[in-house]
């Protein structure tokens, strides 16, 4: 057993780390919220270097790195403190198009996603369909060469920035197996009949939205895969290689920042113990993640339900970090720094809810891994 990266892997890491440190504009570092321009600025810097979508096939701009290199890069990217790369285009819509899209769809959308010309959002959840996504009701009826879409999505992250939305819609309400009546549709956000309404979260930020569809006409060519195969597409995405689910790089950065904030509190043994325990949680998660990665490299098998474990522990660690940061300030403080730390605690509660709540992740492990 050897838990260390090889010399080449370490050299690769150093190279990535150096480049990221040198290329990330200082004013984009470690901000709580990023504007659309800021998000895209970082996206384009990475695109110019050819590093914005390492996992894509080389012909579409991928780097050709192996899984370990990709993992290292993602961790370094998270650790850099730059704006997050918004996943909806790069790691959700694109993999779907690469797997199920027509040549025309790939040519039309992939280069624009790569260059950050189109901003995408994800239209899955509905008011009545969160954990039980397959019950979704947004209706799409094919009339001649257009789908007419009616219904509502909710919690749509950054829909107010988006040029495009990929949606799960119901094309056939009559099939017995409801999953088989769902289709995957790409919709231009400028189409008449779409209304985006902000939903303010408890930290006061506008990050998610409601999106209403009122007789929205979508060209039939924007259907991905076949009609009724939307669930297959969505499931493919869930199983899609997601080795960074634990967000180790980001958490390492938050931990380092926490240690700076907490400098004056390190004499407090109770606090120090909690901080150490959390750091150890993170180490354990990292080694677990590397074990899964190593297995994937050797077997070529996608990680499957293991990813759920990474999501559960990763989000718990993220929340734990924000909680400890809050312990370093007066709960009644109103200065900007203290408020930012408190709001970070508020907003980080979402991580155990979205992208498949941690309860649903546990259900997945119970069923898929443990066979219950």
């Amino acid at each position: 057993m050897d838990l260390n990266y090889s010399a080449e892997e370490l050299a690769f890491r150093d190279q990535a780390r150096d480049w990221l440190a040198k290329s990330l504009p200082a004013e984009l570092k470690d901000k709580g919220h990023y504007s659309k321009d800021e998000l895209l600025r970082w996206h384009r810097i990475l695109a110019k270097q050819g590093w914005v979508a390492p996992a894509w096939p080389k012909e579409w701009g991928g780097t050709g790195w192996n899984v370990v290199q990709r993992y290292i890069f993602e961790e370094e990217l998270g650790y850099s403190g730059g704006p997050p790369l918004i996943p909806f285009g790069l790691t959700m819509c694109a993999p779907v198009l690469l797997r199920f899209g027509t040549e025309a769809q790939k040519k039309r959308f992939l280069p624009r996603i790569y260059q950050g010309e189109d901003f995408w959002c994800q239209g899955y959840s509905e008011p009545g369909s969160g954990s039980d996504l397959a019950s979704l009701k947004t209706r799409a009826i094919l009339k001649a060469d257009k789908y007419i879409v009616n219904g509502q999505k909710i919690w749509t992250t950054l829909a107010h920035y988006a040029d495009w939305i990929f949606c799960l819609v119901r094309t056939d309400p009559t099939v017995e197996k409801r999953q088989e009546g769902i289709s995957f549709l790409l919709i231009d956000m400028k189409t008449p009949g779409i209304t985006v309404r902000p939903l303010i979260l408890m930290d006061g930020a506008h990050e998610v939205n409601e999106v209403f569809f009122d007789d929205v006409k979508v060209p039939a060519e924007n259907l991905v895969h076949e009609e009724g195969k939307g669930w297959t597409v969505a499931k493919y995405l869930l199983g899609y290689e997601r080795m960074n689910t634990g967000r180790i790089g980001e958490s390492k950065r938050q931990l380092a920042r926490l240690k700076e904030i907490a400098a004056g509190k390190m004499k407090d043994m109770r606090f120090r113990d909690r901080l150490s325990r959390l750091e150890i949680e993170l180490i354990a998660l990292e080694i677990t993640n590397l074990r899964f990665l190593d297995r994937m490299r050797r077997t070529g098998q996608p990680p499957g339900a293991d990813v759920s474990m990474l999501k559960i522990k990763g989000t718990e660690i993220q929340q734990g970090l924000t909680e400890l940061a809050m312990e370093c300030i007066d709960p009644l403080a109103g200065d900007e720094t203290s408020m930012a730390l408190q709001k970070k605690y508020l907003t980080t509660r979402k991580t155990t809810i979205y992208a498949g709540s941690n309860e649903i992740q546990r259900n997945i492990i119970a069923k898929m891994t443990l066979g219950l």
Binding site: L201, M202, R270, P331, L332, G334, Y354, S357
Partner: protein
């Protein structure tokens, strides 16, 4: 032994609850937040119900009540997430009542009882003080001595806390202040225990809201064709929330009753610290779970449960966090 509120206490709690239900709905509260951050109309009503005089001595226009008398009121405040700075004023009034001269008491306490005077206490000259922007008088501990000044004389920067309470960063300069009491350490500690016990009661009220509204959500929200409350994984979670709430409530009872009855400061302090530790843990547990079990809705600014979350986050650490009280408990 009798854990019930007396008839008088129950009547008062009922009338406070009724008032809050009629006039302090979540929407009313929103308007207050969008405005000044507290409402003088509401304050007048609280005074009319006798709350501003409740724990003050009858010699100075009060009703001579104690922490237990206020407990159910603070629980009701917690449930409704009341913004008005009643507890800061009563805490400061308690200090005046215990430490000040008779003349000073005559000058201040009847006005407090009548609802005309609001006071707040700061434990140090530069401090973040809830209620300060709405106060007429500021009390401040400088070294061991207690001073009082007109709020207008004290430079302050108002803001809202995480849980939307009106507060200010103050800068208390002694040249403009009158001495209230020398060597006021023991009186301050007693008054802080009084306030801490009632903060516990307020947190218990907020927890009750969070538990009740989550239970209601589990019964009504349907996924997979059934109410999500039918999932055993969630049933156990909400059961644990209710257990936390009950334990916290018990400890708040203990703290309030010891504040009223204990002759021994160490015994009182141990009970109050024990309560605050338990309440802090419960507040964290209940608030986090209430959001989680609401799914996305729990994150929304639109729902009261996220405001209760914020309130509990602050209450868990207000008047000393669990670590502070663990240290105190263990040292007594």
């Amino acid at each position: 032994m009798n854990f019930d509120y007396s008839e008088e206490q129950q009547l008062l709690a009922d009338s406070v609850r009724r008032f809050l239900q009629n006039k302090y709905q979540f929407e009313d509260r929103k308007k207050i937040i969008a405005g000044e951050g507290w409402s003088s109309d509401v304050w007048a009503k609280l005074a009319e119900m006798g709350l501003t005089g409740l724990p003050l001595s009858p010699d100075y226009g009060g009703f001579g009540g104690g922490a237990v008398d206020l407990m159910s009121v603070m629980e009701a405040f917690g449930e409704a997430l009341v913004l008005e700075p009643l507890l800061p004023t009563l805490m400061a009034a308690r200090l005046v009542g215990r430490a000040a001269s008779d003349a000073q008491k005559r000058a201040l306490l009847p006005a407090v009882a009548e609802g005309r005077l609001r006071m707040v206490f700061a434990a140090s000259p530069k401090a973040n003080v809830v209620g300060a922007p709405a106060a007429h008088k500021l009390l401040c501990l400088l070294e061991k001595d207690l001073f009082i000044a007109d709020a207008a004389e004290v430079p302050m920067k108002p803001y809202r806390t995480l849980d939307n309470m009106l507060a200010a960063r103050i800068d208390f300069s002694p040249s403009k202040a009158d001495l209230l009491a020398k060597d006021a350490g023991a009186a301050v500690e007693e008054a802080l225990d009084f306030a801490t016990a009632l903060v516990c009661a307020e947190a218990v009220g907020a927890m009750k809201f969070s538990c009740d509204t989550t239970l209601e959500y589990l019964k009504t929200r349907k996924q997979f064709g059934v109410p999500i409350g039918t999932f055993q994984a969630l049933q156990h979670r909400i059961v644990d929330m209710f257990i936390s709430y009950e334990q916290a409530k018990s400890m708040a009872c203990l703290a309030c009753s010891k504040v009223d009855s204990s002759e021994n400061p160490a015994e009182r302090a141990r009970a109050v610290s024990a309560a605050k530790i338990k309440v802090a843990d419960a507040a964290r547990h209940v608030s986090q779970e209430s959001v989680q079990l609401h799914g996305g809705m729990g994150m929304s600014e639109e729902l009261k449960v996220s405001h209760s979350f914020r309130r509990l986050t602050v209450l868990a650490r207000q008047c000393g966090d669990a670590d502070h009280h663990l240290e105190r408990f263990a040292s007594l």
